[in-house]
């Protein structure tokens, strides 16, 4: 099953998103509505933060085969991933992603390929340089409610958050 819908990049669209997801959850029968809504809502709020222009839109794609795959486009400009996270300006990441400090939970980011960052929760990490000291509450929430989370940067195009539940 495949569900695709575009929404204006504005938090006031949250209710429209919720209504659509209610229909999707009924059709899917594999995930409770409130959990589906929570995960996608958090990603939608995250994407809205990137949306610079009033006319920009966010596309939500939900695909169910053996797993539930969700993609939420981000109308922001995006940026290139360096060869390793040591080269990341974490202050810049904190600024761009509105990251907040969470003393109890660590988010670990790994470079999967030149255009993909994957995230997972970890209280400890073997390589401190890979750990982002500042975390994003929404990102943490999605991680707690999903199996996998990755962020894809598509140069000169849109970026998207990919979630597996």
């Amino acid at each position: 099953m495949l569900f695709i819908k575009s929404f204006q990049a504005d938090l006031s669209q949250s209710d429209l998103l919720a209504s659509w997801l209610e229909e999707v959850a009924v059709a899917l029968e594999t995930i409770p509505y409130h959990k589906l809504r929570f995960v996608i809502h958090e990603a939608f709020v995250n994407a809205c933060k990137f949306a610079g222009e009033a006319q920009s839109s966010i596309i939500v794609v939900i695909r169910h085969q053996d797993k539930l795959e969700i993609a939420i486009t981000d109308p922001g400009k995006g940026f290139s991933i360096p060869d390793n996270l040591d080269q990341f300006d974490t202050n810049s990441i904190g600024f761009r992603w509105n990251l907040v400090t969470d003393r109890e939970t660590a988010v670990v980011a790994e470079i999967r390929d030149p255009h993909t960052l994957s995230f997972h929760l970890s209280a400890e990490t073997n390589d401190p340089s890979l750990e982002l000291r500042e975390n994003h509450r929404g990102l943490i929430s999605i991680l707690k409610a999903s199996q996998q989370l990755s962020y894809h940067f598509v140069p000169n195009s849109f970026n998207y958050l990919q979630i597996t539940c």
């Binding site: 938090l11 509505y33 409130h34 809502h41 709020v45 929430s141």
Partner: protein
């Protein structure tokens, strides 16, 4: 601007409830947090937040509730969330917040707990 948070103050506790609000999310939480902050004067030590009208809470909404909890704890008081729906309770479970907040089935139960 419409006030969404109502307060009923009693000698030993205050009850906060929401009017015309179903979602405590990124769209509303900052405003609600500011309203609650304005209502919780320093004399309020114990508080009950009636969530029976709230259908959905996101991470920003939970952040606002945690902020209230911190304020109440700093006064050595107690905060009880009452009327939490099963859906919101599941989201709290996902966010590992069930051990953070004290819950009660109803406002009356919360008052009994405080007494």
């Amino acid at each position: 601007m419409t006030q969404h948070v109502k307060i009923l103050s009693q000698p030993h506790y205050s009850i906060l409830s929401f009017e015309g609000l179903k979602n405590l999310d990124a769209n509303s939480a900052h405003r609600v947090k500011a309203e609650i902050k304005g209502l919780l004067d320093e004399q309020v030590v114990n508080a009950i937040i009636d969530l029976s009208s709230i259908h959905f809470i996101d991470s920003t909404g939970f952040g606002a509730l945690i902020s209230v909890l911190k304020t109440i704890k700093s006064r050595n008081g107690n905060l009880i969330l009452s009327g939490v729906s099963s859906e919101v309770r599941e989201l709290m479970d996902l966010m590992q917040l069930l051990n953070v907040f004290e819950l009660s089935e109803s406002v009356d139960d919360a008052i009994s707990q405080l007494n």
